[in-house]
Amino acid sequence: MSETVYGPVTDWATDFDHGSPAYAADMHKIWDDLKNSGCPIAHTERYGGAWLPLTHEMVHSIAYDTDHFTSEAPVVGQLKPSQIPDRIGAPIGPVPPISSDPPFHNEARRLLLPAFSPKMIDPWRDEVIEICNKLIDDMGDADHIDAALQYSQHIPVMVIARMLGLPVEDGDKFRGWVNLVLSGIGEERTEARMQQFMEFNDYLAFHVNDHKENPREDLISFLLNAEIFGDKLSLEHVVGTVILLLIAGIDTTWSGIGSSLWHLATNSVDRRRLVENPDMIPAAIEEFLRAYAPVTMARLVKEDMEFHGVQMKKEDWVLLPFPAANRDDKQFANAHEVVIDREENRHAAFGLGIHRCLGSNLARLEMNVAIEVFLQRFPDFSVDANEIVTWSTGQVRGPRSLPFVVNARA
């Protein structure tokens, strides 16, 4: 992993870079050091100016405050929305409804909610079990596996591609675009990168058009028929929502599954407890979501304002590090310990307020099944001491390689 275009960080309080490899490697310590030094909200001039609030209270209040903060660009970029020509701005944004503000947001989200409600998601369980078992079958009898490359990264891709109506075999392409959009925020804006963005758009335009001509029973066809405020959705809205569901449905859950497996590979006591008591898995998954929450979102400041003693400027980025809120000891007892049977757990891994992750029921199903099946098939595994676990950079954090040794199989 390389440094961002802004170079190495010199001071985390005044010059932080959440896209840097140093942040990905050590964010928990960085947050603790900042808070202990009396800086609960860090600032940087990178990315055109950004803030990093670290307490649950601050993150909660910004997530709820749609009057002062807009969601129109939920991923921090090197350019501000006002610097990008022809961009769809508030209240719709390029990828509705995550990039939308009220009142448009409410309508755009309401369209999608039924497809992701528990009663629509639960029936996918058997299919996810089958996908997970097949991935493990494909590993053969190898003792050395990569649980990220051979397992966690495939599970969400296969499910969301089927739900949307996109070819499941294009998983590699999807993951390439996910990296482009999320992990490459600090990379140089080269021709090659722009070309990849174009390819992503062309690919989706092709498949959306194909659904127009050949309607079927999937989410793309549903979106093409859906109406908002009495009109059919615009093509930009349909494509934007497909981009959202694809990107948000893949990287996040892949990271959640990977972090859970990493914890179990490095904590044999917890692993044994879950192997012996699989009914503890759902509570453990909630704790992994708290302790290793993959997603940080972003807002933009609408107008110059004061917030907890700092002066925020119009169009400053404001990060919402839900993972930091989840480790706030004012909100959680023993916040820095992973307690797999934690009873009180109001974690914010899926966000807070009106933008609560639309796919949270699906993500939970995939994480629960992925861990259940993995532990059934591999009751004992550990990190390969000769290899390196790598973590993603940017606003979604999870392991991108998980070299494991399988010590026992069932």
Binding site: P282, E343, L352
Partner: protein, 64 residues
């Protein structure tokens, strides 16, 4: 004991429905509501407290 979901706070995390389906249900949009007018049958008090302790939006209240 009675439980109540404040519909203006609920954002559809569905934790209560997952932890205590005897006490809560969700509509087609994933918004939760209490069953049986919120009356908690004897023996399910702990489940009601567990649901309250796991709602990220602090939308659940309990009347003892």
């Amino acid at each position: 004991m009675r439980v109540h979901v404040d519909p203006s706070k609920c954002q559809g995390h569905n934790r209560c429905y997952a932890l205590a389906p005897e006490l809560f249900d969700v509509d087609d949009y994933g918004n939760a509501f209490e069953l049986n007018d919120g009356v908690v049958p004897a023996g399910l008090e702990d489940k009601a407290r567990l649901a309250l302790a796991n709602c990220p939006e602090f939308a659940i209240s309990i009347e003892e």
